[in-house]
Amino acid sequence: MIAKLTLRNLAAHKLRLALTAIAVILGTSFIAGTLIYADTTNKAFDELFNEGTKTSDVVVQARKAFQGTEQGDEAAAKPIPASALATVRRVPGVSDAVGQVMGFAAIVGKDGKPIGGGGPPQFGMGWGERLSGYHLTTGAAPAGDHQVAIDTVTAQKTGFHVGDQVRIVTRGPAEPYTLSGIFTVGEKGTTGGVTYAAFQESVAQRLLLEPGAYTQIVAKAADGVTPAELAARIGTAVPRDFEAITMRQAADDAASDVKQFLGFLSTFLLTFGVISIFVGSFIIFNTFSMLVAQRTRELALLRAVGAGRRQVTRSVLGEALGVGLVGSAAGLLAGAGLAAGLRALFQAFGADLPTTSMVITSGTVIWTFGVGLVVTMVAAYFPARRAAKIPPVAALRDDVAMPARSLRMRALVGGVLLVAGGGLLATGLLGAGIAYVGGGALLVFLAVAMLSPLFARPVTRVLGAPFRRLFGATGRLASENARRNPRRTSATASALMIGMALIATVSVLATSMNASVDKALDASLGADFQISAGGSFGPAATFDPSVSADVARVPGVASATAMRYAQVKMGAELRNVTVGDPVKLAAPFKLAAESGTLALRDGQVLIDASTAEDNKWAVGTRIPSQYADGATATLTVAGVYKDNPMAGSYLMGETAYAAHYPSKQIMAILVVKRADVSAAQVKTALAATLKPYPNLTLQDQSDMKDQVRSNVNQLVMMITALLVLSILIAILGIVNTLALSVIERTREIGLLRAIGMGRRQLRSMIRYESVVISVFGALLGVLVGVGFGWAIQAGLASDGVDVLSIPVGQLAGYLLAAGVVGVLAAIWPARRAARMDVLRAIATQ
């Protein structure tokens, strides 16, 4: 019987429940979309990396002491001598083996700009179809010093045809080559954004590596020999500097980096899904509260005719179950669409990831339904419990109203939550970790939501004042309506508060970061120009050291310092070390010594003040260290310098680096101009010198600042865009609350219309109410957000974010935007109210 009633109620309140379901859908679809996207992309990468296992079984590569994660990692790889290839071929069980040459080669498009480089590597290689996944489709293999072959995808993108002149950048300046042929990569022919340029082997060795050497050797096992066996045999045969692993292992290693990144990305995205569903839970809570309040009489009647409390609770929870099921199912479907959208979005940002058919795992389904159902049921539980408390006698009373409860309990619980949340947040910021920060923020949100009814009346009174003043009776009615049920107003506003708070937090952090960076750069940027390669990691980020010499000869240049970045294990941790000429390092960074010297000698490092403090290191401390090639050394601290964001935390001389890194490539040049020459003049001269290197970027001081700023701003924009989802859900909440309020106040609206309120005035009234609620929510959010931003900035002060900057104008803009949100949210409820038939409205019971 109760089940039947539940179904009838679901059918009777279709529209209101649909709005609630949309809140569930938006949250769950984001979770489902992220999971589907991550699974699909993972599978695509597996397929991509497994291509290699189809053509060969074992790969021989340079041994590394540790798997570095940063740029410069590749520089440590030792080239494999041709003699090793002969050794491998002689190993019993090897049916075939070839040496492969790989490195950086950017194909310059017809517009003079290098293709790709935004993430996926730009590969240069020695041509060979044996034991490889490359197959010529048109033309011939590259032969001689002046021929190149490129992949089909790049050929199509650039419009190059066989016979065309194509400029290619390798280590040196761009050189013209004749396009001899076009080839496909792997079985599918997709490249996932990677560009390929192939040369004759000897040419590739000279351009990309060193004559007669290989980057890796791949081998195919004879029948009856397993890849693992073969890897073991080859491993013992090749010199100690190299290792042999199965192709499967190599694929997994390669994929693990990407998967780690994807894991980070999906956690990042899932966070926003969780935020959305958290915001959605407020709306679910509010809708069910209002539905229960409106059905007080009906529920009392049920109780009067003998329904038990638990039956009433179950009937309300049953409705929630229905909403949760429908919402989650639709969310899963929408998630599939979202996953496709995400792919398109990343593609638009230049991250052209490989593709495969969409993967929807049972895990995705379980998570989507689990989260959707649990959140809906939990949010509806409290209204359901209230419903059960309605006394049967309420059915007989004319003026039914839920018993007003005291706010004291709320104040108490909210206060406790606030203290607990603040404590957790502080603990997290003091170093306990991000989980504490998140948990603390969650508790603070709940606390503010619980406490907000306490100050909803006075605050909305102030917010409503302009409306009273400006719009007379309409404004006064609107402002009173916003105040009449502080719990409802607060719950509606709280949904908006969360999204706004997070956006405000990000804004405060971003401006603080930018201000801190500006301050730091002003103090530590001695260089007038920086020259760097366009690629973001790997060999693409490096270029020939001869550029540095060229630049140093440009008139007006006082000094040009070539920079490299390396990872060195010092103590137990991998550290990012800046490498350069010790004599020339101080000037471009305005390096200031705190103790010791800035002049480096072999076997010495410089560290910054906070590193010295954190590790309790000082001048003369001897640090046991290890380089990427496995060699160990003891590094002595020669000096401690004032924290310098441009230089980083560790500085090392070139000589020590050169001994352990076979690649002579550099990663940046810092240029200081002579004081008597204008910056513009030097910049023009530098640009002319760099003309043959289309992959290099020349930045002056303001460009460098802009770059840091744009990195921060890009992240902020991305996060804000993702948070807009939760704002969207909050808008739905306002729509829902207003629509339900309009239904609740049908008779009142009828009366207003009867005594002469026009439709337009009625619409304005609802619009103003909506604006007051929205701005109230945004105000709460901005206040909480500034608090969070300040707390996090304080927590990061020692990590370089030492300036607190509150973007007052931007935050005021958010409040204004909230007003617009209010206007938008009111459109539909206001139209509904204005369309009401006056007579029927008055006659409504």
Partner: protein, 261 residues
């Protein structure tokens, strides 16, 4: 059978009202049909009626006689199926929603059976609400007079939930009067009140007619309430079937019994 048709009575009623002076509102051949085809119900059937200015008119009739519909049509709350309705010289049946709303606001006052007040506004704010909506200042002297007449001065700052049913209804009457409307429509104003509170409200409506020259039209099914009026119009099955001047409760009851038969 003492059934009298509207066609016979109408001229008589018109004559009676005409002698009483100018008309504040009138209905001419008004028919109101609800629904379509087989399911249609004729609520008003060719009703012609004048509401004399400065008088207290009661519209009576059994349930379903069409008395509320007649009032709704006269007040511009409901559209007629055919015929014309005038308030003063304005033909309501020709006005669009916007003009009708303005007419209700500026020239008509309402008192309903229940839910007459906006719960979020004080008594005084409720009284001045129609003028506030119109954006005009109330005449302070007149407002004072009205407030004193309904005897609510000490309760002006209270919200409706803090007032008794009788007090709420007196606030509603004050609101109807405060804008000096051409005509006040009261729909069963005493329906939800005990007899003492009801008598207060009725006495107040009558005194507003006698002393302030207000025009009041009241729909009721209570013969005692009708006895406060100057004229009573009887409706049955959507037609005007009788009228009575200077009514007493007993005479009204007698006529009603005749209608019910």
């Amino acid at each position: 059978m003492t059934y009298v048709t509207a066609e016979i009575l109408a001229p008589t009623a018109d004559d009676a009202f005409r002698t009483a002076g100018p008309l504040a509102a009138r209905a001419s051949g008004v028919t109101k049909v609800y629904g379509m085809g087989d399911a249609s119900v004729t609520a008003l059937d060719n009703v012609t009626l004048g509401i004399p200015s400065g008088r207290f008119t009661a519209i009576m009739g059994p349930s379903g006689s069409g008395k509320s519909t007649l009032m709704h049509c006269l007040a511009g709350l409901d559209a007629v199926s055919s015929g014309q309705v005038y308030v003063g010289d304005v033909e309501l049946t020709r006005l669009d929603d916007k003009r009708l709303t303005r007419l209700r606001r500026d020239r008509i006052g309402f008192v309903f059976q229940s839910f007459n007040l906006i719960p979020t506004l004080t008594a005084l704010e409720n009284i001045t609400l129609p003028m506030d909506i119109a954006g005009v200042k109330p005449d302070p002297a007149w407002l004072d007079t009205v407030i004193d007449t309904v005897g609510l001065r000490p309760r002006l700052g209270h919200r409706p939930s803090e007032l008794s049913g009788g007090q709420q209804q007196r606030v509603a009457c004050a609101r109807a009067l405060a804008g000096k409307p051409d005509i006040i429509f009261a729909d069963e104003p005493t329906g939800n009140l005990d007899s003492r509170s009801g008598a207060e409200v009725l006495a107040f409506l009558r005194s507003s007619v006698r002393e302030m020259g207000q025009t009041v039209v009241m729909v009721t099914h209570d013969p005692v309430a009708a006895s406060y009026a100057d004229l009573v119009v009887f409706l049955a099955d959507g037609r005007i079937v009788d009228q009575l001047a200077a009514p007493t409760a007993d005479r009204v009851l007698e006529r009603m019994k005749g209608l019910d038969r």
